[in-house]
Assembly symmetry: C2
Homo-oligomer: 292 residues x 2
């Protein structure tokens, strides 16, 4: 059974397992595990690892429109180095402070591989799910896609400073909160924009017509991509970008864009399920990065 099949099985058993975060009595909670082989390329600093792993959970809270209050991490490694541990905590604290949450530590574990499991909690008044996108709604996204794809290429080239900077992304808490009242469906793009659209389409029983030219691509990716096809592929399929992808009724679009401190870019609209998921009229494949 692969990871997607396992996730489908979980979703059938646990009512909240398909969403970015579960909401229990007004508190949103989400957990993520990352580890060296698949998530932290050689050259990733422990500050970046602390920032990024906690930010991944904070992004899940953003995706349900929650305000984070606290985060914890279980930190596992083959040995404990005082500087590495301090750097990890600094990174975790910095990203929590950036969104008004408190990093409160966690657990240590001796393990065969550097592994981090993070959990974030927050207040969710209007929890947004993925199930109510309606034909005619507009599709909006935060930020630009391809930051993490670009970072990986820079890690490969040993351009570690720029790669680490790109890996320290901003969880889109303020945009998530601005969208919480209005969005008919929302998630983060951690599996890639294409997979996110397919998941929203499945949950909402709809299709999407995306305007390829409207999809914002990170400058950092444009700088390292071979050509336009490479850039598009990395931007929409690679994933790991943690931007928000949301659908908004057309009549509310101007208001929500005015309310969101983080700019929202309109990239297309919701269509009937029979029309499928297309970019400039061409089918957009359900292909993404399967998280290790």
């Amino acid at each position: 059974m692969d990871e997607r099949a396992a996730l489908r099985q979980l979703a059938a058993t646990l009512p909240h397992a398909g969403d970015d975060a579960a909401v229990v009595d007004g508190t949103a909670i989400t957990t993520d595990m990352l580890h060296a082989t698949t998530d932290f390329p050689a050259g990733t600093t422990r500050y970046t690892a602390g920032w990024r792993s906690v930010a991944a959970s904070l992004s899940d809270l953003a995706a349900v429109g929650a305000q984070p209050t606290a985060a914890v991490a279980a930190y596992a490694d083959t040995a404990f180095d005082a500087d590495e541990l301090a750097d990890f905590v600094d990174g975790a604290q910095a990203v929590c402070e950036a969104v008004g949450a408190e990093y409160v530590g966690g657990d240590l574990d001796s393990h065969s591989e550097f592994t981090v499991a993070t959990t974030a909690i927050g207040d969710a008044v209007e929890a947004v799910d993925r199930a109510s996108a309606t034909p005619g709604d507009r599709v909006v996204v935060t930020g630009a896609f391809g930051r993490s794809a670009a970072a990986l290429r820079l890690f490969e080239r040993e351009d570690f400073d720029r790669a680490n900077d790109l890996f320290q992304f901003s969880p889109r808490i303020d945009a998530g909160r601005a969208l919480a009242d209005t969005a008919t469906a929302m998630m983060d793009s951690s599996d890639g924009l294409a997979r996110s659209l397919h998941q929203l389409a499945e949950a909402s029983d709809c299709g999407f017509a995306i305007d390829r030219e409207a999809v914002p691509v990170a400058d950092a990716l444009a700088a390292v991509a071979d050509d336009a096809d490479d850039r598009w592929e990395a931007a929409v399929h690679f994933g790991e970008d943690f931007e928000l992808v949301a659908t908004v009724p057309a009549a509310r679009l101007d208001d929500v864009r005015a309310e969101s401190p983080t700019p929202l870019t309109e990239i297309g609209r919701v269509v009937d399920a029979e029309e499928g998921i297309t970019a400039n009229g061409e089918p957009l494949a359900d292909r993404g990065y399967t998280h290790g």
Copy 2:
């Protein structure tokens, strides 16, 4: 740097890192990582792994007197088996239901080793810490010590049914809540009774005079131990038992024992720091199981 030194470093940086759970705005949160090599002996069922790993986090909430509301787990393995995953979820759900919390799923990760990271949250009105034990207070514990030590011996003998039963412990939520108003210090005994007493003594700047005969020993341990010394060693130093260890003002002892649905056993009293930590007048070594 070993795990204890790393934990001391964290405690110096993060104000909550030394306690069983952090409390932020009335919500208690705690996380734990367990993995096959050190925590799940051969023969441990996935049902037991789900129960036990979530229960470890619930026990941390009990130790601060909180009422659990929800738990999540990140489940990592070399491959995903549908039955194993379902059994894990069943065990996690069962222990959550037993304490009135909701198990809401979590994350999946492909990893080199079966690894579980659990987080539990709960409501903490009167969060108990470890710092106010006062000479004259009585020391009380829940349950009996040596269940997990006995379970490990049974796993070694391939008596898997009994070993799995012993591994599915009850988090002491009701006792923790009964003690929340009254206890001057409290923690769980996951590192062993001896280490727990040393940690409470360090936090409260006190000593302990323990009555060796009063320490409750699990029947299962008595049945597999070689002799009285082996039994004592396994009961007080092995750890992994997740009982509560608390100090209570002598005048409040009868009331709190009457309030706690789980029986509380008095095992000794708080003394001045200069008197050290003794059992029947003999020093009780700061020796325990260092969690992997």
